[in-house]
Amino acid sequence: MLEPVNIAFESLNFATLAPMLIAIVGALTILVVDLAKGGLNKSLYVMISLLFLILDFGALTDFAGMFKENGTMLGFFDVMMMDGLAILSQLIIVGASMLFIPLALTSKRFHEFSYPEFFSLFMFMIAGFQFMVATDNLILIFVGLETASLALYTLIALHNRNKSFEAAVKYFTMGALAAGFYAFGSMIFYALSGSVELNQIKDVFEADGYANIGYILVGVVFLLASFAFKLSMVPFHTWTPDVYEGSSAALAGYMSIVPKIAAFVVTMRIFEFLIHSGVVWLEVVLYAGVVITMTAANIWALVQTDVKRMLAYSSISHAGFVMAAIMIGTTQANTALFLYWILFTFTNLGAFTMLWVSRQKKLPAGQSSDHSFDKFSGMVKTMPVAALMMGLFMLSLAGLPPFGLFWGKVYMIASAVSAGYTVLAFIMALNSAIAGYYYIKVIVYMFMKEPTNENNYMINASLSLKTIIGIAAFATIFAVFAVSPLMEFISVLVYNSGF
């Protein structure tokens, strides 16, 4: 006969679940509203999603305040862990989702947005990412990752193109392989340490002085491969351009930001202590990965003929750039990572929204892709404001002062120099220069070429899309004033969680 289990309700610390539960309740609300009355306008669902995301964001800012006073909060038998990294990355995840969800309000009618399930899956996905970052339990990380990824595959497949289906299947297959690698790597860590909590694994490893280093490295290889898939590090990047090309521009922009910040946080939790363990091998591998990812992706981006594919390679290169912070591993570098990613969110949001406003329902005659460079030629004569906006985002992505991403790059390179990685800093600066070429190429097309015969660039624009572009442009131009308060906020959260 089993003993009855008595657990005090307070010991569960239910409040740590609040942000995720808000997102889940939002998702269920959308499903129930559709059940009660079908065929409602998509703007209602956008607003419901936005409402719950604002609630979620509010709860998270509250947590940020509580964290500054009380430190890390644990809940549910220490499975949940709301530390500074978790709160910060959730703020980015939810904030970016708030900016991306209004992109559904296009003037053209797209099929996927007529399904309420689209918005429901979107909210579930956010909850999945939130669970993934707010824990150091390998099992919950896995379940959160799979929850989010499954929803994301479906969202990609809902877009009505043959290529979208191909993209979703590709992403699904790659994701399944990565999940297998993750499971195998975690299994090895569990077998060596007898725990699935990362901080306990760290204690066990340090207690026996990394005696089983060979087997730890086997585990690290598998975990590294799995997260390299998610972060699209070279050589695990091959799915990225195809998937971005197949999905809608709005979703592609979303994919370049939110899943990656979640994966970065988990990577930071797993690899930071391993790098500090003094194992040279891991540092060498990460160093090589960072350099190859930045450089190779930049070179591939040079030869693309489609702006969306070019941006896909550019986002791979940016991810490599940011991965350098995890390799450096100082508090300054980790702070720079989050700053970079916040600024990158706004800039990439703008760039992908500019592609999204130009989306026709059918492919234009004689063109094989939606966003070829030719489409942008001579835009300044027909659509001066749009051309100016696109130019602004391109310059920011290239890292020109005083636009947003410049500050991110400066802090990142500065952290590399102060940690003694001078060569790496040099390579990073060099790569920014290479990247300049293909961003300027778009500007050359827009400002120097003659317009093509029919220019229907803003065909998909609506008030809400223009608003989002306005917000992104505003944030990109005036980022200079926000950098130092942001840095202060980020460094408090990052430093107090021990990273």
């Binding site: 399904y115 919950l140 499954l150 479906t154 009505n160 059918k362």
Partner: protein
């Protein structure tokens, strides 16, 4: 002695059926030999008195997953001419097993590393232990899996009724 005999029978069954599964040409033969392999593993669990693993193996693998596989094979109705042309199948199989060998070696190492000395007293009430662990320490991941299932349900239904244009 008797348990050794049973183990040898089950293990031989497992090895032969696994080999048939990957080497046979007809898909349905593969599926059926997979069934035998899964049942042999279930039998090995039973000889180890691991009742929970035995039941899950029968219900989930031999029951649910395999019927899904067979259902799909019947549904697709694959003919011989639809099968991919594999001229170097034997060579590929040997190469693949060489690639997978180090991973298997790691697994065997960890199996040897594990402590099996008090296996029997632990596993006699294993279902209760598993249940308690699942509903205490891992209640949150466990409940999140229900969300995961809901997502796959919603997602697959939405995709299935998606209208086609383009």
């Amino acid at each position: 002695m008797l348990s050794n005999m049973i183990f040898i029978i089950l293990a031989t069954n497992l090895l032969i059926s696994s080999f048939v599964m990957i080497s046979t040409k007809r898909v349905i033969d593969s599926a059926l030999s997979m069934l035998i392999a899964l049942l042999s593993i279930a039998g090995i669990y039973a000889t180890l008195q691991s009742s929970f693993m035995f039941i899950t193996q029968i219900i989930i693998y031999a029951g649910a997953i395999l019927s899904l596989v067979i259902f799909i094979i019947m549904f697709l109705n694959i003919k011989d001419k639809n099968l991919p042309h594999e001229p170097h199948k034997t060579r590929d199989m040997i190469l693949t097993s060489l690639v997978v060998f180090p991973i298997t070696a790691v697994l065997i190492y960890f199996i040897k590393l594990s402590d099996f000395s008090n296996l029997n007293e632990k596993t006699t009430s294993s279902i209760g232990k598993v249940g308690l662990e699942l509903y205490q320490n891992y209640v949150l991941p466990f409940e999140l899996i229900s969300i995961l299932l809901l997502i796959s349900l919603v997602g697959s239904i939405t995709l299935a009724r998606k209208e086609k244009d383009v």
